[in-house]
């Protein structure tokens, strides 16, 4: 087990170094931040001076070593555009992304598991088939389309009401009622500072702002988990031990939820864990559509501005998140699944 962990750790470090190298290479060949920092009127001497000051004249290996050394200390330099330390920016923006991911992951997990169990148990019912078809929306529509549709449907339309909602000539809802269902289309609303963490989870306004982006971000994973749970359920329900449990006379509820569901959830948790990693790293599109002040939006802005310190910090951070999650999952799997451990031991002995 220890050899396994050490092995995985070394691999993780190797991956991080390679990513750092890529990040560093990109940083040397993208755009001209000098131009962006100095504006349209600086002289050639100013540019040369700034280049020297930023250390952009040193040989590549020296710059890379400096980069890695600084990164290990959490120092990614100063953003070219915002003139603030990158580490401060990341710390400021991380809570927003984490809260959004938390909401999206919760929606995806809860609804996905419930939907998956339902459609797994009632395989051929009309309702199941309807759910499966509608869930295709989650994987086939791009995130920004879903986001903009939701904004249009819940932020713009309710406020564009002119005559109210009529049914057979009678007024069902007037415009004031319709406007009540409207949700905010951008930003985080009021946030409360808990130390360094700016949270939107403590106010009603904060929750209202979380609804549309949370739903948008969750849809893809919701569909994924729903289908995964469903197929796992179908497979588990066919196994021998389920047959024996039924033969023993256990109730349907005990069989389905006491036995089948637990086994179903193991691969689901693995996938969900990895998906959370990708949610954190790639919430970019949703954050851009909803102007959610998180890491993804910071990254997109830094790409547009060729703000290399932020880009490289983000790449390294995203790689770190994935490496840590994969490492944890691997180790947990080895810890949970005895087969993995036994094989290793057996292999070692042979």
């Amino acid at each position: 087990m220890l050899a396994f962990i050490v092995n995985r750790l070394l691999q993780a470090i190797g991956v991080m170094l390679v990513v750092a190298l890529f990040a560093f290479i990109i940083s040397n060949y993208v755009g001209d931040p000098i131009n962006n920092m100095l504006g349209q009127e600086a002289t050639l001497q100013d540019r040369a001076q700034l280049k020297k000051d930023l250390g952009l004249d040193d040989p590549a290996p020296v710059q890379f070593a400096r980069f890695v050394g600084e990164a290990l200390r959490g120092n990614f330099g100063i953003s070219y555009q915002m003139k603030r330390p990158v580490s401060h920016l990341i710390v400021e923006r991380l809570p927003a992304t984490l809260e959004l991911v938390f909401v999206a992951a919760t929606i995806a997990l809860v609804l996905g598991v419930i939907g998956g169990v339902f459609t797994g148990l009632r395989r051929n019912a009309v309702s199941s088939r309807a759910i499966m078809t509608i869930s295709l929306v989650g994987v086939s529509l791009p995130t920004f389309v879903i986001g903009i549709l939701l904004i249009y449907g819940f932020a713009v339309l309710p406020k564009s009401c002119v005559h109210g909602v009529h049914l057979f000539g009678a007024l069902l809802f007037d415009c004031a009622d319709v406007a009540m269902i409207s949700l905010p289309s951008f930003g985080r609303g009021d946030t409360v500072d808990i130390g360094a963490w700016q949270s939107g989870l403590l106010t009603a306004e904060g929750w209202r702002h979380l609804v549309l982006p949370g739903v948008t971000l969750s849809l893809f994973n919701l569909t994924l988990i729903l289908r995964l749970v469903r197929s796992e359920m179908l497979e588990v329900l066919r196994t021998d031990y389920i047959k024996f449990a039924r033969a023993r006379g256990l109730t349907d509820r005990a069989v389905h939820f006491g036995h089948a569901l637990k086994n179903t959830l193991v691969p689901v948790i693995t996938v969900a864990g990895i998906q959370i990693g990708s949610l954190i790293a790639f919430s970019t599109i949703t954050e851009t559509v909803f102007q959610w002040p998180g890491m993804g939006l910071l990254f997109i802005q830094s790409v547009q501005f060729a703000d290399v310190p932020i880009m490289t910090a983000y790449l390294v951070l995203a790689a770190l998140i994935f490496v840590v999650i994969n490492f944890t999952v691997d180790v947990l799997y080895a810890a949970i699944d005895p087969r993995l451990r036994a094989d290793r031991v057996a292999a070692g002995r042979a």
């Binding site: 330099g77 289309s185 997109i300 501005f305």
Partner: protein, 534 residues
């Protein structure tokens, strides 16, 4: 555990308290890009300057018609060829209550001249700023500088005492890895005070009730609070305006203007901007880098340049690409700039047959290949304009390969003289033609011609530029400028396309005059009274 519960309960109570509102005029607005910093001398960029000038006052401002008007300087004149005297406004206080004096002017100008300032070239001609008495300042210049008043309109006057107290005597220094206090804090004399600055997320300004200008023609606005949030995605920006979440949108995309106009609660105001979009051609190289013509440069032949101008149909671009939102141009500077003459600005009507004839005359009947460099995130529909041009030039045999990139990659190509054929837009913050000639037409040497990516070098033009720099007699100077424009038109190294038209979307109850430099002056903004904060 108990402490955690207590903290949460407190936080909830605070949150509940925080949302209690008083009726006051709050203006919520959005645009694509936030100001880069609250430091007024650090970045010379449109949105950043616009934001600073609501918090700080300059010595001289421009009114809604773009004419110079007194701000912190009540009068100014050149008392001798190398000295400008400014008399300052009395009884003005900074936001913290301290008085404004000549010391602050001297300090601010020297700060703007610091090596880490992005504004130093505004004061290239100034060698010294002297305080004569509490309310009089002299600017000593190298030679006569007839347009110094134009240059000072963008320079904010900052409190010297405040800057010294917070150690921000110099604008951001890149060697210093720390964030300076001035990036998120401000101390000016302007109509609004900076209450909160969260870069890229939210900026809140609060009315300065002691501003000297509220009851003058310079003020008149009734806004108490301004909440700004940048929204990058264009669909979301428009949705925010349509849903009433914001009252004012600085940059609605052209394709959504109709939708905004149709909304009963909203309106669109437009004006031509002082920014002209044009194509630059490399006329100076012996051979084009990306062309299949070897041994000579087709762009060096004026007939080819004329053919290109005749082939590009700027009216079609206006109609289709810009959806009517542009003003086709005949020269590369716009109305509002000193030296602009409408007679010069008549756009050339497209004439493909004449263009083909000219190409044949020049010996390029079969046409040639060339690469066009274009930005895709700077000007309104910039990439689409280039795409339209590619099609139009194809008609006369010029096969254009379009290379469209972010401005951070595109602009260096022009500045380093690495492009054969490029799209550029040029604004004129000083609103004087010299700015255009100095950067676009002067021979590229030293501090001049920094954005002349054409290799154009004309001794006559350089001579005219040098003369207009130091001529203080207005009539003579205007004559030099007129001659320079005539020469520019005759030499045709830039193909003008159009002057950008800017549109602002806002609620019908908001009265905010639009100005040619796209900067919202909230001191003029009048809202329907009694909007609650949200």
């Amino acid at each position: 555990m108990n402490r955690w519960i207590l903290t949460t309960a407190l936080a909830l109570a605070l949150a509940a308290g925080a949302t209690a509102a008083e009726a006051k005029n709050t203006l919520r607005w959005a645009s694509q890009g936030d100001a880069l910093t609250a430091d007024p001398h650090s970045q010379n960029e449109g949105p950043t300057n616009a934001a600073s000038l609501n918090i700080y006052d300059p010595l001289i401002r421009r009114n809604a018609k773009s004419q110079l008007e007194p701000s912190l300087a009540v009068s100014w004149k050149a008392i001798n060829p190398t000295t400008w005297e400014f008399k300052l406004r009395q009884n003005v206080k900074f936001h913290d209550g301290t008085p404004f004096t000549a010391d602050d002017v001297v300090f601010s100008v020297m700060r703007a001249k610091a090596p880490s300032s992005d504004f130093k070239s505004y004061f290239d001609s100034v060698t010294e700023v002297k305080k004569i008495d509490t309310y009089t300042v002299h600017f000593i210049t190298k030679g006569p500088d007839p347009i110094l008043p134009n240059q000072v309109t963008q320079i904010s006057i900052m409190s010297k005492a405040w800057a010294e107290k917070h150690k921000v005597e110099k604008p951001q220094d890149f060697k210093n890895k720390e964030e300076t206090y001035a990036i998120r804090n401000a101390m000016g004399t302007g109509p609004f005070m900076l209450k909160k600055r969260d870069p890229g997320i939210e900026t809140v300004l609060e009315r300065n009730p002691n501003w000297w200008g509220w009851k003058t023609a310079q003020g008149g606005g009734n806004v108490d609070e301004i909440i700004y949030k940048p929204i990058k995605n264009s669909a979301t920006r428009v949705a925010a305006l349509l849903s009433g979440e914001i009252d004012f949108l600085l940059d609605p995309p052209v394709q959504d203007l109709e939708k905004i106009k149709r909304d009963l609660k909203l309106k669109v105001v437009s004006t031509p901007q002082i920014r002209t979009i044009f194509f630059g051609l490399d006329v100076g190289s012996k051979e084009l880098r990306s062309s299949d013509v070897k041994g000579k440069n087709p762009f060096a032949d004026k007939r080819v340049r004329q053919a290109i101008q005749l082939a590009i149909d700027v009216q079609a671009i206006k109609r289709v690409t810009m959806r009517g939102m542009s003003q086709p141009a005949g020269i590369v500077t716009s109305p509002g700039v000193d030296g602009y003459m409408p007679a010069n600005d008549k756009p050339v009507a497209a004439n493909v047959d004449q263009a083909k004839a000219l190409m044949k005359q020049a010996g390029y009947e079969k046409g040639f290949r060339v690469k066009l460099d274009c930005p895709n995130d700077r000007y309104t529909n910039d990439e689409q304009i280039c795409q339209a041009a590619v099609g139009m030039l194809g008609r006369i045999g010029i096969h254009v390969q379009l290379d469209s990139q972010s401005k951070t990659l595109h602009f260096p190509k022009i500045q380093k003289y690495e492009s054969d054929f490029y799209l550029l837009g040029w604004g004129v913050p000083t609103q004087d033609s010299h700015y255009v000639f100095n950067y676009l037409y002067a021979t590229k040497k030293g501090g001049k011609g920094g954005w002349n990516g054409t290799g154009y070098s004309s001794p006559k033009m350089d001579e005219l530029i040098a003369k207009m720099e130091v001529e203080t007699d207005v009539k003579k100077r205007n004559a030099f400028i007129a001659q320079a424009w005539a020469l520019a038109k005759a030499d045709l190294i830039y193909i003008p396309i159009h002057h950008q038209v800017i549109n602002w979307g806002m609620t019908k109850t908001l009265d905010l005059p639009i100005v040619v430099d796209d900067a919202p002056n909230f001191r003029w903004a009048k809202m329907a009274p009694g909007k609650k904060t949200n």
